[in-house]
């Protein structure tokens, strides 16, 4: 190689003034470093490129000895040339145009990595180091960095406080010292505690709200108005969290990963990989009492009769399945609270006899935190009057949970969850099962198998929906830190093994093997949390184990109780599931319940599990949760249930956010809602443009409309929200436009001071459950409980566009025009089913392209055809949007659906307006807020 690679010359690196500038002096070419070497030879990027592009050559004398021409040296000289040219090609392509940090795969790139060589993969480390040295950007570790400004002050305060605390503690501990002998934590045994001092088991405070765990002093100030999830530190580094001043449901919730993740999440959940969430913000309530009285309570809260009793529900009552059902308020409006997941504890000792009837049993209710207080009050009120008594316990900060979905979910969980119990007898049983494929033997084996053993046999399961619906496993696991970093598990390869897995999921021996799960036991939860060894102790044990092997499990190891259940549907849509099957390819997900303190180790093991299909499980935030629910065609609580209290609050918050975004833009660049052409010569958006305006839907246009428009705009200096509610959409939007800056600022200042309070929900707005809605739609005479006002009952629907377009949130849903027969006919003519059947190449929604040399008669035919073709959006003949009388609802979630390959949406409809729609009842017209263009769609109840 003639022009040597730019090597660092020792003379240049020691310059005294080097620190002042970013890049060090030129790594000069040693060939030219003569005695008259210039002190500062600057090498810039251009020069580097030139060097990289120079090709090496061979002289004739070197190639041909004595100038003799022969075949071998001829070939050699050619080979040298090829080598030189290829090297040159490669070098000039990437060598010096790309830095080591830029070669890292996209998902590994982090801005924080760019100052630390140790953060790049090993193969790039040497090169990165060289580049850092050239750039004069030394690697600094956070530990050794000199604290700057604010940080120094903060650290000094911490130091002072610590000294004070230590002093106080020393004084406090002094008198006690004599009587108490401290015992090391490692002597504490789970189960049998033989130490002198037992770890204090906290008194269970029943019927009281749980208080969040007291955080470390360092983090306490940041959790005054909110609590952190157990994996907060993991997420805070990698995800966009809720703003510190605006926690969501009293938690700091990760909203979305910092890395781009819309498509990757879709892929990981549908095709390859896994997506996990820390769902510890979901609240848990425990009820304890006689089975009959608990069932009575649930019935009083409106859970459907057939879900609670009867043969189908017997497995749920036995504690072998999970039930998800809507619960309602008991008092008269009987408002929908939320979908609630309910799990029973298995009968103790498996006794299901009559004498066990009288025993107390436990049931966990899991509910979204936005509806927690509503449910809590309801439950407390009912528990007080229940006979025999039912005790209520708030387990919010005791039980944490995570959810994982995608084809690799089961595999990742298997890698992280190592069951504690190891039954030696099961070995022989499993051997029998593998050798003999007889069904009888496999049915016999479960007798001796524990749940943990069966769990490990699930390796190779890619879709939890294969298992019995709402199946559940409860067992104890070892500390995952002992098996960290996790390794890829052995997956079944042969057909026989696959067959066995199928058989297992069909026979489901868990039903026989499931014992009462420890997670229902407060003491077991407490013990698992308190006896967790420190990371130091774990590391010591790992160091003692032979290389390449995990440390041996000891009988003293803490046993983490976990409860694992697969939810194949996000919401209770039992009846509609049989009807609607196109989404069945979408795999179910696993939900894992574990003690709050045990969650971080489990989470880390899960996140670093190397999947057999490559990469690791992805983590995701709230936005991804919503995205996947949307792609599965399922409504997401609370956002898609605007008739509930929680859903209403969510909608108000969304409104505020959208309004803020709208106001922020200059007037010329934002949608002028008051000027939208609505067809039929009307102008102005229906209701408030940035809201799903349910008030407007229920009440119709306000009567003050004329007056409001007449009044001088400046006088309408009312509070923004009030104006929106009272005024007509055009009027309020006008007002918003006319708003001077000053009141807006004042308003903002006011809002900053006081946390945002959602206005109370319109009292008559209610949400119907799927079952009720389907019954009402099926027969016109179907009865509804008298308390529900049908005229204002909403039902959640999923909308599919029939032609083109993508629905946006807040889009208006109209039924097909009812009183304008002509317009209705025009819309019906657009239905794809009414179009002449055509099979064609070319654009999807237009006539096929003609070849250039088409004969005249074909061109004429085409012209005639194009006259018959239905009008396309934007053309004059395209039918106008229906009038406001035909408005039936709004879209709450809408987007392009990656799974469907077209736009879909989830929204809510006013059931009374679509109940008697005649033919094409399910047809509807969507119009995005701020546009005048309607699109045909079809809705179905979900």
């Amino acid at each position: 190689m003639a022009p040597g690679r730019p090597a660092q010359s020792p003379h240049d690196s020691g310059g005294g003034d080097n620190n002042s500038k970013k890049r060090k002096d030129a790594p000069t070419n040693p060939q030219h470093d003569g005695p008259n070497k210039r002190p500062r030879q600057h090498i810039d990027q251009r020069q580097k490129i030139r060097i990289a592009r120079t090709l090496s050559t061979q002289t004739t004398s070197a190639a041909f000895q004595n100038g003799a021409l022969d075949v071998s040296s001829f070939v050699k000289s050619r080979a040298y040339e090829i080598q030189a040219l290829e090297n040159g090609l490669q070098r000039s392509k990437k060598a010096l145009n790309e830095r080591a940090f830029q070669q890292v795969p996209k998902e590994l790139r982090r801005r924080t990595a760019s100052h630390n060589v140790k953060r790049v993969p090993k193969r790039l480390r040497a090169r990165a180091g060289r580049e850092m040295a050239v750039d004069n950007t030394p690697t600094v570790t956070a530990r050794r960095r000199k604290p700057s400004g604010h940080m120094r002050l903060r650290l000094e305060t911490v130091k002072k406080l610590r000294a004070l605390g230590a002093k106080r503690k020393a004084e406090k501990d002094k008198p006690k010292d004599a009587s108490v002998s401290e015992l090391p934590a490692k002597d504490v045994q789970p189960g049998t505690i033989t130490t002198a001092i037992k770890p204090r088991t906290p008194k269970v405070k029943k019927s009281l709200l749980a208080t969040p765990p007291v955080p470390k002093a360092k983090f306490r100030k940041r959790q005054i108005h909110k609590s952190w999830l157990p994996t907060h530190l993991y997420h805070a580094k990698r995800a966009r969290m809720t703003a510190p001043s605006a926690p969501l449901w009293r938690f700091a919730v990760p909203l979305t990963p910092t890395a781009k993740s819309y498509r990757p999440t879709h892929r990981a959940s549908h095709d390859r990989g896994a997506v996990a969430w820390d769902m510890s913000y979901i609240s848990t309530i425990q009820l304890e009492g006689r089975e009959s009285s608990v069932l009575g309570m649930l019935k009083a809260m409106g859970a459907a009769e057939e879900d609670l009793s009867g043969r189908k529900a017997s497995k749920w009552r036995a504690g072998l399945r999970v039930l998800e059902a809507f619960l309602y308020e008991r008092e008269s409006p009987h408002e929908l609270i939320a979908p609630v997941t309910m799990v029973w504890c298995v009968y103790a000792n498996g006794a299901e006899s009559v004498e066990a009837e009288g025993r107390k049993r436990k049931v966990l209710l899991r509910v979204h935190p936005s509806a927690f207080f509503q449910l809590w009050e309801e439950v407390l009120r009912l528990a007080k009057v229940a006979k025999p008594a039912v005790s209520v316990e708030d387990l919010r900060f005791e039980i944490g949970s995570l959810e994982i979905t995608g084809p690799g979910a089961t595999e990742a969980l298997l890698g992280a969850l190592w069951p504690s119990e190891t039954v030696s007898a099961s070995n022989s049983a499993s051997n029998a099962a593998t050798t003999g494929m007889d069904v009888d033997t496999t049915l016999d084996t479960p007798r001796s198998e524990s749940v943990g053993d069966i769990w490990q046999k699930l390796a190779g399961l890619t879709n939890p929906a294969l298992l019995p619906q709402n199946a559940l496993l409860g067992f104890n696991v070892q500390d995952p830190r002992l098996h960290h970093p996790p390794r890829t598990i052995a997956l079944p390869k042969s057909d026989a093994e696959q067959h066995q897995l199928l058989e297992l999921s069909a026979s489901w021996p868990i039903d026989a093997a499931q014992k009462s799960c420890d997670i229902f036991d407060g003491k077991a939860r407490h013990l698992a949390s308190t006896t967790l060894p420190s990371q130091k102790a774990v590391n010591r044990r790992k160091a003692l184990s032979p290389p390449g092997e995990y440390p041996q499990a000891l009988p003293k190891d803490p046993r983490m109780p976990v409860l694992l259940y697969s939810a194949s549907s996000a919401t209770p849509t039992n009846s509609s599931k049989s009807r609607q099957q196109p989404k069945s390819h979408n795999g179910g997900s696993w939900t894992l319940l574990a003690p709050w303190k045990c969650l971080p180790p489990l989470w880390y093991s899960l996140m670093y599990y190397p999947l057999s299909t490559g990469q690791q499980p992805r983590f995701a935030g709230l936005d991804q949760k919503r995205q996947l629910a949307f792609e599965a065609g399922k409504p997401w609580f609370p956002g898609d249930f605007p008739g509930t209290k929680a859903g209403w609050e969510w909608e108000c918050e969304d409104r505020r956010r959208r309004e803020g975004e709208w106001r922020k833009r200059p007037r010329g660049k934002r949608v002028g809602y008051e000027k939208v052409e609505m067809g039929g010569g009307k102008k102005g958006e229906v209701g408030v443009g940035w809201a799903c305006d349910w008030e407007r839907l229920l009440d119709g246009p306000a009567v003050v409309e004329e007056a409001a428009l007449g009044v001088v705009e400046d006088d309408m200096d009312v509070d923004g929200v009030a104006a929106e509610k009272a005024g007509d959409g055009a009027g309020s939007a006008e007002k918003a436009g006319e708003d001077t800056v000053k009141p807006a600022e004042q308003e903002k200042a006011k809002e900053d001071a006081v946390p945002f309070q959602a206005p109370p929900k319109p009292s008559q707005l209610t949400q119907l459950s799927t079952r009720q809605a389907l019954a009402l739609l099926a027969s016109p005479e179907a009865k509804l409980p008298t308390h529900i006002n049908l005229t204002s009952a909403l039902v959640t629907v999923r909308l599919t566009l029939l032609t083109r377009g993508v629905p946006q949130p807040c889009a208006r849903i109209y039924r097909l025009p009812t009183d304008n027969a002509d317009l209705r006919r025009q819309w019906l003519a657009l239905l794809p089913s009414n179009l002449p059947h055509k099979k064609q190449k070319g654009p999807k929604h237009a006539l096929p392209r003609l070849p250039k040399d088409a004969p005249a008669h074909v061109v004429q035919q085409r012209l005639a055809q194009s006259l018959l073709e239905p009008p396309r959006a934007g053309e004059d003949k395209y039918p106008a949007c229906p009038a406001e009388e035909d408005l039936v609802g709004f879209i709450t979630t809408g987007n392009y659906d990656l799974g469907e390959g077209q736009g879909t949406g989830i929204g809510s409809l006013l059931l009374s307006r679509v109940r008697d729609g005649g033919e094409e009842r399910n047809g509807c017209i969507l119009r995005s807020a701020g546009t005048g263009l309607g699109r045909l769609a079809r809705w179905e109840v979900v």
Binding site: T60, A63, A68, L69, D70, R78, E86
Partner: protein, 199 residues
Amino acid sequence: MVRIKHRYLLINILYPDPKSTSGRPATKPGDEVPYTVQFRRPSPDRMDGGVLTRLIRDGVAELFGDYGSGKVAGSLQVKYFSQATSTAIVRVSRDHYRLVWAALTFATRLPNPVGQPCVIQVVRVSGTIRKSEEEAIRRARLSIRQAEAAAKSSNAATAGLAAATPQLLSTEDDDVDMINGIEDPDDPRDIEEDLDDEG
């Protein structure tokens, strides 16, 4: 910003006069050097990029006068010259590459310090250096294969088997290849094709 467009000419220098060239065929009887090897001789040691530049500049000046040399001077650069294989890559501006090509074609002798009769072939004209490098690699591969095949067959011939035809054929193929390798926008065949399309 407008990018300055160049053309890269891939050049082979051939030395037709065996007496005055540097690489002498081995004189031992029975160790016949194949024709393919003799055809592509190495350049003399004194020949380098600078000499080639001078050759081109002089040639352009001779053929096209001050006008030509002025047009070419700004952009002419020898990007690569390998003595052992007598291959070079020359860069010229896109508008004037034909002047350089003509000068190369008309060259019969290397300039003075070397002073050898030569024939210069332009085998490829491309818009990027990358493509001409790739072409050079392809040609080097091809000639290696040919040389090895020829060596084998000549060995076979000395052993008493007559196998001269394949060698001949292969050289013919090679020559055809070289003509095809040249990009010419005004190639008559291309024009014919265009006409076909329209008709």
